[in-house]
């Protein structure tokens, strides 16, 4: 069973998508801030990290940087989550080797695609951007 660490300070997002990820068959761990995110990475050694960019106690970018420098976790795929459409965030995420980028509001399908992509071999960058676009059939 693949393990997902969901780092998100909004408890409703964490709960809703936590339930969703479990229903998809993942083992889910959560963290609410930068510090506990790092200790969770050490403890549960996740297969993929979903990382909100705005976090209390240091932003998601800082967390990703620290994860990159951790022994044994340097290659852990990271998917960033943000509600902001500020220019430059995606670029920064790419620099940090992110394998996905989800902009709120995103849905379960986009989340599932992003995780699948992250867990598949090769590191194809696929930004899951959805400016409230309708899904094509």
């Amino acid at each position: 069973m693949k393990t997902v660490l969901l780092v998100e300070d909004d408890s409703n997002i964490a709960l809703a998508f936590g339930v969703r990820l479990k229903s998809m068959g993942y083992a889910v761990f959560t963290a609410k801030d930068a510090v506990s995110a790092l200790s969770q990475v050490r403890k549960c050694n996740p297969d993929v990290v979903l990382l909100d960019i705005s976090l209390p106690g240091g932003d998601g970018f800082t967390v990703a940087e620290r994860v990159r420098n951790m022994v044994g976790s340097a290659a852990t795929p990271v998917i960033f989550i943000t509600a902001s459409k500020k220019p430059g965030l995606k670029e920064r995420a790419l620099q940090l080797g992110a394998v996905g980028f989800l902009t709120k509001p995103f849905d379960a399908t986009q989340l599932a695609d992003a995780i699948e992509m992250a867990l598949s071999p090769g590191d194809n960058w696929q930004p899951h951007l959805q400016p409230a676009q309708p899904q094509s059939a």
Partner: protein
Amino acid sequence: MNAAAPAQSFAGRQALRVLIIDDEPVDRERCVRFIKQIPGVDSNVIGVETIAEADQQLRLGRFDCVITDYHLSDETGLDFAAKHHDDGDPPIILLTGNGSETVVLEALRTGVADYLIKSSLTANGLQRAIQNAVEKSDLRDSVRARNETIARANQTLQKRSNEIQRFYHTVSHELKTPLTAAREFISLVVDGVAGDINDQQREFLVHAVDCCDQLAMHFNDLVETARFETGKLQLQRRPGRIEKVVLRAVFSVSAQANDRGVTLLHHLPPELPDVYMDDGRILQVVANLLTNAIKFTEPGGRIELTVTRADADHVQVSVQDSGCGIEPEHLDHIFERLYQVPRAEEHATGGGLGLGLCIAKEIVELHGNRLQVTSKRGQGSTFYFSVPVAHPHLPNPEETFQ
């Protein structure tokens, strides 16, 4: 008794402070005398022999004007002028022995206010030169002060604009996070993750999800409007298929058209070239035009979306409805931000924030074209725009990040 004489002044001042740099005592004294003779002003003249002393004087106090000889023992009058031509420095008048062309040209280039030839110096000539120089310098000062005021005001506006942009971001962030969670909780139930639900429950919840999507779209409109206003929207253009985008837009509004009882048709020619566009943005434009068309078309009406090759370089997309049409007095305003055309049937606005068309127009313009409309009252409206054909040799800087 005579009426009181008007208060006299010279170049707008009651007191005049002049520095004279000349190592010839006779010449210097003559200048001092000429200046003392200026009527209506209290003159304070200081004479020095060298540039070094002059520099010292300028450090100590303010002067309205400096008069300097060209030939001096330590440096030339031009060297002095070159050092003192910043904002706030007094105007400088150069005295030359013979008015050699090289010196005069150099003097004007250095920014001296005026030059006078020593051999033909008169009280009148000197006074006039001082007056002109001082008045010109005052004028420059006041222009500079005004420019500074404008620059400050501009800065304030820029700051305000950034604050508004930040505010939009915060609002949007604060709204989107709970919305994302709400949508997901509903979706979990719809998908049966929380147990079985009946068909009607599912139908209602699907509507709730649609509502969430609508809200999300409105938030995006808000943030995007702020971004247009501050010029921060950037397109991610690359060659793409307009058919794909158009069909996605049609798909996204087909339920809406059905609900309203409006027929939605699309016509796509068999062979279309790739166009150079931000597909997400063009999708937004087409979806917006279709949504508007549905909103303003009566049940039983008809909407036709047509794509044509306009010319060698453009593909045109048009959305024609059989709706109520737009009154001429609204036609000029419909692309304005926050403008809403009243809906005739119920004298209420068509809903929405009044941002959609304005955003659509901006997006089309960022693609180098115009969003246009023709409409006749009672005979429907046609909105149309072009997208440039992608030429394979065009550089495509945005592609690197996709």
